[in-house]
Amino acid sequence: MADLRDVAVIGVGATKFGENFQWGVDDMLTIAGFEAMEDAGIKPEQIEAGWIGIQYPFTGFSGATLSDALKTYDIPITHTENYCVSGLDAFRNACLAVASEQFDMVIATGVEKITDQGGRGLPTSGFGHPVQMAGLTAPSAFGLAFPRHAKEFGTTKEHLAHVAVKNHFNGAVNPKAHFRREVTLEQVMKAPIISGPLGLLDCCPISDGSAAAIITRADIAKKYRDDYVTIKGMGFAAYTNLMMYDKNFDYLAWRPTVKAAEKAYAMAGITDPPNEVDLAECHDCFTITEILNVEDLGFCKKGDGGPAMAEGRFNIDGQVAVNPSGGLKCFGHPIGATGVRMIYEVTKQLQGRADGRQRENAKVGMAHNLGGLGGVVCGVVILTNEK
């Protein structure tokens, strides 16, 4: 058995994220999958196993959604569903399979096709109990952290707005981002209110998209390219769908982020995250989510997320570049695709190929993916270009 740290990413691909009305699931998986294979320099017949992250049943069922797109028939393909972490969990399972040496060359993909459904916001009907959970929406589930965080630490709506301004600044130059424009603090502050403190510009959009990564062992990776990246740390944690009933949950930290980060840092040997992590694709479905996350990831002290954001400590040239891609907020958030899209961005950054949004001298990058109505599940993957 190889070590998980011997697992390498040798190719990545992604569609443009956004309201891809013109593309179906098959189109997007094909575009992302073939881009990743071309980037890796491999052919579809070299793929020995595949994983596909999808959250919503209306996007697709089973591994066949992927084999239908790539025509990679007769190999094992697994569908992973873990809320917004569906894609990163596809990547995790692909890495474990390679580390086990069961397979040498695999593909991890994610896709979501939401805009066919019309409607507004993410569909949450059927999540949880018919009446006990009724009315809970994604922005309200995360937004519930604001009153508690504000009461305890003095976090303000303006602090939240800084997250959106930063992520739009980064994403505006990203050709595949859902939005390609900057927003001002004033625009964010004055946007129509969606839930609690969260205005329209505090919320990530409803996007379609797909992303893919080609994964192999480091010793094989060398044959394909010199600038492959490897796993440095990985941690996943699931908490509960019922956090609002849990007297031990204080809404001051996303518990799965804390736990997943602990595991990933331990594996990576990272003890001083803000000085050892150069960039992080960090789950920013809502601005308040990122405020707690940067604290939970140890990028600043608990409670300092708001002021640190306002000071620019997480700008692309700050202490840790958080969401250089534009994040979910600006790049978009097709649920099942997002985790793999984070791997796409971190890989590009560590390869020095993030045109216009490159974090200088990036050596260690993180993909942090949080899911569920509130922080239910989390995955943290730390990649490095250091051999």
């Binding site: 009907s125 009446v131 006990q132 009724a134 309200s140 519930l144 009461k151 969606i194 007297k247």
Partner: protein, 466 residues
């Protein structure tokens, strides 16, 4: 004979001034206001409120539940059993649904008295509630209001003894609804009241008084059911009652006509003002014209404090537009909901959804909801007991959400710490958005959550303690 052991009432928080209806249509308006059920209320939820006001969440020993309404949310499917279940009344109780007539409220009271007197039930909780729709621009629209009442009929510790019951009926077509129709149809109201309603109710009362062997001076208060304000006055006149203080106010001024719930709501008001020895005559009307004579006992002084009709009437908020009234009455198409439910799941979870049972862990004493086999605090497996949650608490956290489809956003989603233990996620209702604050005292109320899967899905919400 049986008597009344306890009584309660409920009036929805929202009211509409009649002049707003009149202004909207450019027609003459009557003075006063009508009580308007919120969009999450129906006759079942209002009956639950009135019953809780009556028995103060103490269902032990209640042997039956009779529900009366002409506006029950199900044409087929008992409302009485649902209400009994929410109140946590023993499943050995007798239950029945009365309806189809404005006279159903007093008919249910008579039925309960008979059941208790015959020994079939130790006690019966009688509740009547109405959540009515009127054809816009009609006189009915300004007349009808929403409300509920409850009366516990039993033999022990009665605050008012039933001294006599007189029954009669009259077959005349006044108001009716056809199957599948929500709006009432009517023949000729002026003809109907003059030729059927008034003669029938006045005749019933005269016959009853003669049968009971009492004179007009013996009666302290007469509760006269009437479809509208004018008819109410005409009945009193037909009976020759000279002293207006003897005629119980029919609640048209600030509630509106509550159909079959009206006489029981009026009775609740009459009992609240009664003294030992008072004789109260209750006359229902509409198809069924039943008359009940009550005599108040000394025990009326021992009544525990509660909101009662006066409390609910005092706590109110006026709707600022006729449009909001129409929206509450489902007269305006709402945003389609995509909620789903399962009759089987709701059956499986009936004890947690309806009377609101959680669990108490026997290892760490944590009270928790929803009920699960493993304690969320100490993770002990299968060492717990069913635990009925208290219906009061303190707001621990909340958010006002505009994304969830609602007739009147935002939807206030809350996390509440219940008195006696348990933290619960509930929507908030009947509140001013700007007045919500962490730490405030709240009470739980039973409401409609949605109508997914083509049935009514009920659960609890919170509202500020008033």
């Amino acid at each position: 004979m049986a008597g009344i052991v306890a009584y309660g009432a409920y009036v929805p928080w929202r009211r509409l001034e009649r002049k707003l209806i009149a202004e909207a249509w450019g027609i003459p308006g009557a003075p006063g206001e009508i009580a308007v059920a919120n969009f999450d209320e129906d006759s079942i939820t209002m009956a639950v409120e009135a019953c809780r006001d009556c028995i103060l969440d103490e269902p032990e020993g209640v042997g039956g539940l009779y529900f009366a309404s002409t506006s029950a949310p199900y044409a087929e499917k008992s409302s009485a059993t649902l209400i009994a279940s929410v109140l946590d009344i023993d499943e050995g109780a007798t239950t029945a649904d009365f309806g189809a007539s404005l006279g159903a409220g007093v008919a249910a009271l008579v039925g309960a008295a008979n059941a208790v007197d015959s020994g079939a039930a130790a006690s019966v909780l009688v509740t009547a509630a109405e959540c009515q729709l009127a054809v816009p621009k009609t006189a009915d629209e300004q007349t009808l209001g929403d409300g509920a009442a409850a009366v516990l009929v039993g033999k022990d510790d009665v605050i008012a003894e039933i001294k006599g019951i007189h029954c009669s009926y009259d077959e005349t077509l006044g108001t009716w609804k056809l199957p599948g129709e929500l709006l009432p149809r009517e023949s000729n109201p002026r003809w109907f009241t003059a030729n059927a309603y008034i003669p029938a109710i006045a005749g019933a009362i005269k016959a009853a008084v003669a049968e009971f062997g009492i004179g007009p001076d013996d009666i302290s208060k007469v509760v006269l059911a009437a479809p509208d304000f004018r008819t109410h006055q005409q009945i009193a006149k037909a009976l020759g009652i000279k002293d207006p203080a003897k005629v119980q106010d029919a609640l048209f001024a600030f509630v509106g006509g509550t159909a079959c719930a009206q006489p029981l709501m009026m009775l609740a008001a009459a009992l609240a003002a009664a003294s030992p020895g008072d004789k109260i005559l209750v006359a229902g009307g509409g198809d069924t014209y039943d008359v009940v004579l009550l005599e108040v006992t000394d025990r009326i002084a021992d009544r525990k404090p509660r909101k009662g009709l006066a409390g609910y009437l005092a706590a109110k908020q006026n709707l600022d537009s006729y449009a909001k009234f129409l929206a509450r009455k489902d007269m305006v198409p709402a945003e389609p909901e995509d909620n789903v439910s399962s009759a089987i799941q709701m059956w499986r979870d009936r004890k947690s959804v309806l009377p609101l049972y959680g669990k108490k862990c026997e290892a760490c004493e944590t009270v928790y909801f929803p009920p699960r086999r493993v304690c969320p605090n100490c993770h002990e497996y299968n060492r717990n007991v069913d635990w009925k949650l208290q219906k009061t608490g303190k707001l621990w956290n909340f958010i006002d959400d505009n994304l969830t489809p609602s007739p009147e956003p935002p939807t206030t989603l809350t996390i509440t710490d219940l008195d006696g233990g348990g933290r619960i996620f509930l929507q908030m209702t009947d509140r001013n958005v700007q007045d919500t604050e962490i730490g405030m005292d709240v009470e739980l109320v039973f409401r409609i959550i949605h109508n997914g899967s083509n049935f009514h899905n009920y659960f609890w919400k919170i509202r500020p303690v008033r």
